[in-house]
Subunit: 316 residues, 2 copies
Amino acid sequence: MEISRDTISAWLKELQDSICSQLEKADGIAKFEEDNWTRPEGGGGRTRIIRNGEVIEKGGVLFSAVHGDAPAFLFKEQEHSVSLDKDLGKAGNVPQFFATGVSIVIHPRNPWVPIIHMNIRYFEMPASKNGGAGVRWLGGGIDLTPHYVNETDTKFFHSELKKTCDQFNPDYYTKFKKWADDYFFISHRKETRGIGGIFFDRLNESKEMSFQQNFNFWKEVGKTFAPTYCELINRNKNKSFTPENQQWQLLRRGRYVEFNLVYDKGTKFGLETNGRVESILMSLPKTAGWEYDFKPQENSEEEKTLSMLKKGINWI
Amino acid sequence: MEISRDTISAWLKELQDSICSQLEKADGIAKFEEDNWTRPEGGGGRTRIIRNGEVIEKGGVLFSAVHGDAPAFLFKEQEHSVSLDKDLGKAGNVPQFFATGVSIVIHPRNPWVPIIHMNIRYFEMPASKNGGAGVRWLGGGIDLTPHYVNETDTKFFHSELKKTCDQFNPDYYTKFKKWADDYFFISHRKETRGIGGIFFDRLNESKEMSFQQNFNFWKEVGKTFAPTYCELINRNKNKSFTPENQQWQLLRRGRYVEFNLVYDKGTKFGLETNGRVESILMSLPKTAGWEYDFKPQENSEEEKTLSMLKKGINWI
């Protein structure tokens, strides 16, 4: 049975509903506000923002489904993966892309609660205006950015992701964990953004996995997000913190801003293609900070955290 | 008389000294800290940072002079402007570049005092390893980013820049003011970073101007910085402000961060070529903020400021 774009979009909207209601419950007081927007060239989105909560200082759970003429760089990317109609891109023969997804970033108030990010997305584009063999794929991931790395929580987080992966393919966790380490890397700092997670792109079908199986895996990633993060909230939300902890939180958020504005492909793509700026930049924290040449004290929690912002750590 | 790189570097270090002493005086309590650093591939710098002052919350006045093998993209850029040795870039024939400059960013504490940025730089590269006809040029500029645009101060600022330009060339102010408007533009926000100033690059010699004349102009830009900014400090440093003014300051600083991390060529160049991160990112404020879809109140000072963050305003 073919999985249609409408089926996928409808499922993502339900996922958005479910995640928002779980996050509201975990927060206790804040409610999501909703902005519906349309894209002049086709499609639109449902942006949901939560702020000034008991637990969540600022966050968003965004759904979008957009379509229209594919920008040139999108079909150039496909040249190696699919035989394209040779007149593709010429007048009257611009391929129509479709992309839908849910994106989440949550910045908590308490420095002991980690920042989290999730994205799952689906993309399709026929090889010519008239359809024919084109491309479609699934991408996504979940990654965690603790202000203070807590090894017990990190192990729990990675174990939950591994459980989800292992239900579908024994290689996925290892492969996608490495992908996250490589992707969420702040090259100029030689530091990972956080403790990673999983990241994958362009999943469709392979020798071992049908598209349907990958679709099921992808949905399960989406469902793994809320219970995992709510558990991390509940473990840490009542921990007391000092002004020094908050100062460190600002610096860690500064690094988050650096990653998102300098490296994140989704952010760059959005800003370059005239996307909805307020939705794209909802990922930025309410406040962030930078100190010249900050060095944590020896043997401090801050130094310990820095020492663990590395690729290739086996957390489980 | 040939102007040597050593003459230029020495002059820039004196300028750095002079600017730091004028800024310390304007601040009243804070003193610059100095970090000397060397670049493994050649050269180094003298980074001076001021923080937690009476007026200046965070700022830097940076001198650097670096040299070595030119990265490939640098000599590719030259292909159209100079006849290059055809073996250029091959083993044993990598051209040696030299670049020196002073860069300044000052983030004040009081929201009524504007953020300022200045950079003046000199670049040279012979066309081949053995010297010969190569390139050299001067670049730079000064631009102002008020949290609240004050028309009197803006007029004063632009008039001072125009006076400096007019001493050397009647077209420079108009030309370089437009260049600043175009350069300091946050495309995704459709907003200028501030009220502009002047910006120029690749000045060497032209029909009307010798290199020596442009060098004199460039030095005068450097000397214009401190008295102009100190005047703006003195006019505004004692104005009282509210938490709402500080909130707005955080958002304006957030835009400053967006510009510097997404668009600024110096920042991108520095991060991509493995420059000294702490010096490059000294431009970022101690704190910055982002609010989802913030809209200033009608007829407020904030709304008035936003309405003036546009290209092409004739402030004089």
